[in-house]
């Protein structure tokens, strides 16, 4: 009996993954991100010293074989703190952008699908977008108090409008298409049409915005922590570590410069992946 060969169906998702796999830079970004994610998960097991262990006999020791990235002004191992800090950066980055994406997408979709809600939702979005992002996040943190939870609330609110706008624009075009009319004809209700037919069809720009938005959130989070309006010490958040080492820039540059490379590695990888996804999902570049 001849074996029947399993034929893979060419789904749009498979096409996108194929194009993404061909993009070496995007794959490099993805691999770096996976490594950072693994480091964040395994941090308590792989850090050589506890991130908050203070050793006053070896304060501000420059990088050596014992302390790969040196120690800070409290004698804490910078390498361990950077590895452990990846947990906070990734939590802030992906946590905020996930909340922003879910809320923003839903608001944008509702605004586009129900014309009565459009004006109210979009004018509110316009007002939020009218305030420069950094200033809005700063004001929210001032009102709520500066800690990691409030930082995440502030960054989620400030990142949400872009998702609402992107989704609204997509939904406005998709809702006029025939398959939506067909769904309505067979008696699907609005919730089902939105959730099962419209939103899955406008995911492409949302995925790109998710990746590139995470870069902004990580940078804003680090910036707010840098000016003391975000995560509070002794948490080893990278922006906070850069800020803490500012005073010692002349004598111990590594305290603030090395954590900066950790931020850049993460955001660079996300940017590479975001650019790759944009190209892979761009219908104009389809062969």
């Amino acid at each position: 009996m001849c074996k029947q060969k399993k034929q893979k169906r060419n789904t749009p998702m498979r096409d996108v993954m194929k194009r993404l796999r061909k993009n070496r830079m995007a794959m490099a970004g993805l691999i770096i991100l996976v490594i950072i994610l693994l480091v964040a998960i395994l941090a308590p097991l792989i850090i050589p010293y506890p991130y908050d262990m203070q050793d006053y006999d070896s304060r501000m020791v420059s990088p050596n074989s014992k302390h790969w990235f040196g120690t800070d002004n409290f004698g804490r191992d910078i390498f361990s703190r950077i590895l452990y800090g990846s947990r906070y950066t990734l939590t802030i980055g992906f946590g905020c952008i996930t909340i922003a994406c879910l809320v923003g997408t839903l608001l944008g979709a509702v605004a586009a699908y129900f014309p009565k809600a459009d004006n109210l939702i979009m004018r509110s979005i316009d007002i939020i977008m009218g305030i420069p992002t950094f200033m809005l996040a700063l004001s929210i943190i001032v009102a709520l108090g500066s800690n990691m939870k409030n930082l995440m609330i502030a960054l989620s609110i400030t990142s949400m409008p872009t998702f609402a706008r992107v989704t609204r624009a997509q939904v406005l075009t998709i809702k006029e298409q025939e398959f939506i009319e067909a769904a309505r004809c067979i008696g699907a209700d609005s919730r089902r049409i939105l959730m099962r037919h419209i939103i899955p069809n406008c995911l492409a720009p949302i995925i790109v915005q998710y990746t590139l938005g995470a870069v902004n959130v990580i940078l804003w989070g680090a910036s707010l922590s840098f000016i003391g309006m975000g995560v509070q010490p002794p948490i080893p958040e990278w922006g906070l570590m850069i800020s803490a080492g500012r005073t010692y820039l002349r004598d111990a540059w590594y305290i603030s410069i090395i954590p900066g490379f950790a931020i850049i590695l993460t955001t660079y990888a996300l940017n590479l992946l975001g650019d790759g996804l944009r190209d892979a999902l761009d219908p104009k570049l389809k062969q």
Binding site: D126, I131, P132, M135, S256
Partner: protein, 314 residues
């Protein structure tokens, strides 16, 4: 524009209103008597209900009065104006530098796509958008002030003091402008009219600047507008590192003192600036792309045509 501005006022006011902590205590100090605390509460109108306070604030803002700073006891607008030129100089200096570097390298990258220069420019610009500005600032201080001792690390006493801050923010601005110029130019250079221009023997410089660049300008202007707003608001980081007495640093310092009128006024002022920048960007669009200007005119015409047709048919 006006509803957005009103919305901004309401949001910022509400956020400051719900902020915990009594500003009177930070004005009078911890040793103040209950009597003096109550008196100042009354004077500042802090005991009034939310809507009364909001109404007063809105009315005052409409009269150009942003209140009195709790910290310095001077009008907030006066405080803002004394710091505004610093932020403005920093922002426009950086955006200017960003435009020159970003557009130049963006064009070169697009024209010589996949060349080594293109790859270098793209990688550097990606680094620019990935790096936090305060970190770049500290790196530049470390290299040019601490190690080489060429430029002063902090202060604003002359042109020398502006080089590092402007370069820090300019580098970041140029990264985004370059990426946008490159992608926008790449889209344009594939158009048929560029091939036509080449076919009729037009020289390459004219093709790039007169045919391609002009048509690629709209997204670039958009990104420049976004950059100006971002830098106006985000200058606080660079101002903190270089100890520049700008508006951003003023707002952050005011937060520490619970000087709410100053924070409200500062955020509102930056918001107003961004609205004006966006308006100017919209006006510039119509100069760059005449189709945008005519599309407004065409709308009016289009609405009038069916009416006439209807009248004839009737």
């Amino acid at each position: 524009m006006i509803p957005v501005l009103l919305g901004i006022i309401v949001i910022v006011f509400t956020l400051m209103y719900i902020t915990p902590g009594d500003p009177v205590l930070s004005i009078l100090g911890e040793n103040a008597t209950q009597e003096s605390i109550d008196q100042l509460h009354e004077e500042l109108g802090l005991d009034d209900p939310y809507f009364v306070q909001l109404g007063h604030y809105l009315l005052n803002v409409l009269h150009g009065d942003l209140g009195i700073s709790y910290r310095s006891q001077r009008p907030v607008l006066e405080e803002i104006m004394s710091r505004y030129p610093t932020t403005l100089k920093l922002t426009f200096g950086s955006v200017g530098l960003g435009i020159v570097i970003g557009i130049l390298f963006g064009i070169v990258s697009a024209v010589r796509q996949y060349s080594i220069l293109d790859k270098v420019c793209t990688s550097i610009s990606l680094f620019g958008v990935s790096a936090p500005s305060f970190w770049i600032a500290m790196l530049l201080v470390l290299v040019f002030s601490v190690k080489l001792d060429w430029l002063p690390p902090t202060g604003s006493y002359g042109i020398k003091y502006w080089i590092l801050p402007v370069f820090t923010m300019g580098l970041q601005a140029s990264a985004l402008i370059m990426r946008m110029t490159r992608s926008s130019m790449l889209e344009v250079v594939r158009q048929d009219y560029i091939r036509t221009a080449r076919a009729k023997g037009q020289n390459e410089v004219a093709i790039v600047f007169r045919h391609a660049f002009r048509n690629a300008l709209v997204p670039i202007v958009t990104v420049v507008g976004i950059q100006i707003c971002g830098l106006l608001a985000g200058s606080v980081l660079v101002e903190t590192v270089f100890a520049l007495p700008g508006l951003g640093k003023f707002i952050v310092d005011s937060v520490g003192y619970k000087d709410f009128p100053a924070v409200q006024g500062g955020v509102l002022w930056i918001g107003l600036n961004c609205i004006v920048v966006n308006l100017i960007v919209d006006i510039i669009y119509s100069f760059i792309d005449p189709r945008i200007k005519t599309s407004y005119g065409a709308k009016k015409k289009r609405t009038s045509v069916p009416k006439r047709q209807v009248a004839k048919n009737v």
